[in-house]
């Protein structure tokens, strides 16, 4: 009797172990199932590189290039801000901060990660948006720049915590060796620890960027949502994620517009898949 019970439990454990694979596959399959329909009317090339996104005009124009460029611009801006600050903060926490300070800072970073994105979006609307408007003398502060600043803060927790882990896992003997040879603490960090942790830091940066590309609510609330090809970071843009979130409510199930939004989902899924797999390779690189 006990044997049977154990057998059932162990099989159940195996099934749940495989659940993650099942769910990832299901997500991709259902995106494909709905999204591929759009390619009956638009060629994949025209979909990806078409310059206008007018999903409800007659006939609908379903080119997502403006959305891709919007996502790239906002992501680029966020990366420029968050990578140097995030990596520097990780070094500070891992190497410079005194022990008790370290715990407080790490908890603080965790709390930043825990602030819901819609709350950050709201705060961005009432702080960053008016600042950007006034400082840059714009008709509206809802712009790619505001989005970039906000998203930088959403990328930082990821970058800091993974980069800090990478620095922490560099063998102590590396640093001790450098110090014993007369290097200053900074020289040891800069010349020995950073190179040794480089693949982990690279993974941290990639995962931070992945977080930014996938971010939806905050971006939708502060980038201005205009689906045109941006020419400057001070213009309003619309990202891939915001397009889905903003338009799916109005799209009729089974319409071309509905399928097109799922096709955008496929694009996002593939981007995040590529980023996560590559970052994982970097994290598990054998030395």
């Amino acid at each position: 009797m006990r044997k049977i019970k154990e057998f059932i439990i162990e099989k159940l454990i195996l099934v749940c172990g495989l659940a993650s694979i099942f769910f990832v596959a299901m997500i991709f399959l259902f995106l494909l199932k709905e999204g591929m329909n759009v390619f009956q009317t638009v060629s994949p090339f025209k979909f990806l590189f078409g310059k206008s996104w007018y999903p409800i005009s007659e006939p609908a124009q379903l080119g997502i290039l403006p959305l891709i460029l919007g996502s790239l611009l906002v992501t680029f801006g966020a990366a420029v801000i968050s990578i140097p600050i995030g990596v520097a903060c990780a070094i500070y926490i891992a190497e410079v901060a005194p022990q008790n300070m370290k715990e407080i800072l790490k908890s603080g970073i965790e709390l930043l990660a825990a602030i819901p994105s819609v709350v950050l979006g709201f705060i961005g609307m009432v702080t960053i948006v008016p600042w950007v408007k006034n400082i840059c003398h714009l008709p509206t502060g809802l712009s790619a720049l505001s989005g970039s600043i906000m998203l930088a803060f959403m990328a930082m927790p990821t970058i800091v915590s993974i980069a800090e882990d990478a620095l922490y896992s560099v063998p102590k003997s590396y640093k001790e060796g450098a110090l014993a040879l007369g290097a200053t603490h900074w020289q040891a960090i800069h010349r020995v620890m950073l190179p040794a942790a480089s693949s982990g830091i690279l993974a941290a940066v990639m995962l931070g960027i992945g977080r930014v590309i996938g971010e939806t609510m905050a971006v939708m609330m502060i980038t201005g949502n205009s689906a045109v090809i941006p020419h400057s970071i001070l213009q309003p843009v619309r990202t891939l994620t915001a397009t889905i979130a903003a338009e799916m409510g109005e799209a009729v199930v089974g319409s071309e517009h509905y399928f097109a939004l799922f096709a955008i989902g496929i694009v996002l899924f593939i981007i995040s898949f590529a980023i996560n797999v590559t970052a994982d390779l970097f994290l598990h690189k054998k030395r």
Binding site: L14, I21, Y92, L111, L112, V118, M125, M221, F262
Partner: protein
């Protein structure tokens, strides 16, 4: 480079590093302080217990709070058993082979899928394919799959931190593998598992994109009667009154943001404290 020079370089470098840290810490502090300061005046019993009135410009946020609680509980009921068993598989049963590698990769990917893509998935699978409609059930299942990787990763870490010798002793006394897991490994990993569960709860509380098309109601003054009903939810409500409804009193927005922030941060704080206490008490 002379000794003096390199000392100076170090000083400059370290000041830059601490500056970068301040650039993160100060805004975070400001965000929390601003929301608390401007949100507190809105908080009173009526705000927490009344339905929204006058086109959501007045009244309270009670239905949104209730909706969020239902959604989060539903998500955890679904995700905790699967996540915990998956963690047990990875820590106790899996061998170092390709299958394990793929499972781990799948977990990483599940954690990385953009939240709005979860929304699409929930819409296609639960709302349309299974015909659950926009309902608490659809929303909870979508959120549940989203927090699965958090629960698996935290539980697995907790299980793996239980020393191997505990298992060996138990097995040598004649306990079966499952008995060992059930009576030795799980009790010793429980605080880590709770921590992971609470973090998952916190994440599910704040997410908006996955519930946009699967459950969230723009305005629904009555409480949901069953899991097949739509519901309001706190994060979506904040989005609605911030962007979709004109002329909402700022106080109401800040108050809603404060309630949401407190719920999300409170859970994380609890998780941090449990973990800290546990590390302090750990005997091995």
């Amino acid at each position: 480079m002379s000794k003096k020079n390199s000392q100076r370089t170090q000083k400059i470098a370290f000041s830059l590093l601490s500056l970068a840290t301040l650039l993160i810490v100060i805004p975070v502090g400001l965000i929390v302080i601003i929301i608390i300061q401007k949100g507190i005046p809105a908080i009173n019993w009526q705000f927490l217990s009344d339905v929204p009135r006058q086109g959501m410009r007045a009244g309270g946020i009670f239905p949104a709070i209730v909706g969020t609680v239902y959604l989060v509980l539903g998500a955890i009921v679904f995700a905790l058993p699967i996540g915990l068993l998956a963690a047990i598989y990875l820590s106790e049963y899996s061998k170092d082979n390709y299958l394990t590698r793929i499972i781990k990769l799948a977990i990483v990917n599940l954690a990385g899928v953009p939240s709005v893509v979860y929304g699409l998935f929930g819409l296609a699978l639960f709302v349309v394919f299974f015909k659950f409609g926009a309902s608490i059930l659809s929303g909870s299942l979508t959120l549940g799959i989203m927090i699965l990787p958090i629960i698996i990763t935290a539980s697995r870490e907790a299980l793996e931190s239980v020393p191997y010798s505990f298992r060996e002793v138990s097995r040598s006394l004649g306990a079966s593998k499952w008995q060992t897991i059930r009576h030795i490994v799980l009790p010793n990993a429980i605080s880590g598992i709770i921590t992971g569960t609470i973090l998952g709860l916190g994440r599910a509380t704040g997410e908006t994109a996955p519930i946009l098309f699967t459950v969230a109601a723009f305005y629904l003054p009555q409480l949901p009667a069953s899991i097949f009903d739509q519901a309001m939810a706190l994060p979506y409500h904040l989005y609605v009154i911030s962007t979709q409804v004109p002329n909402v009193d700022e106080k109401v927005r800040y108050g809603t943001a404060l309630v949401l922030l407190v719920l999300a941060l409170f859970m994380n704080l609890v998780a941090i404290i449990i973990r800290y206490q546990f590390r302090k008490k750990k005997k091995w």
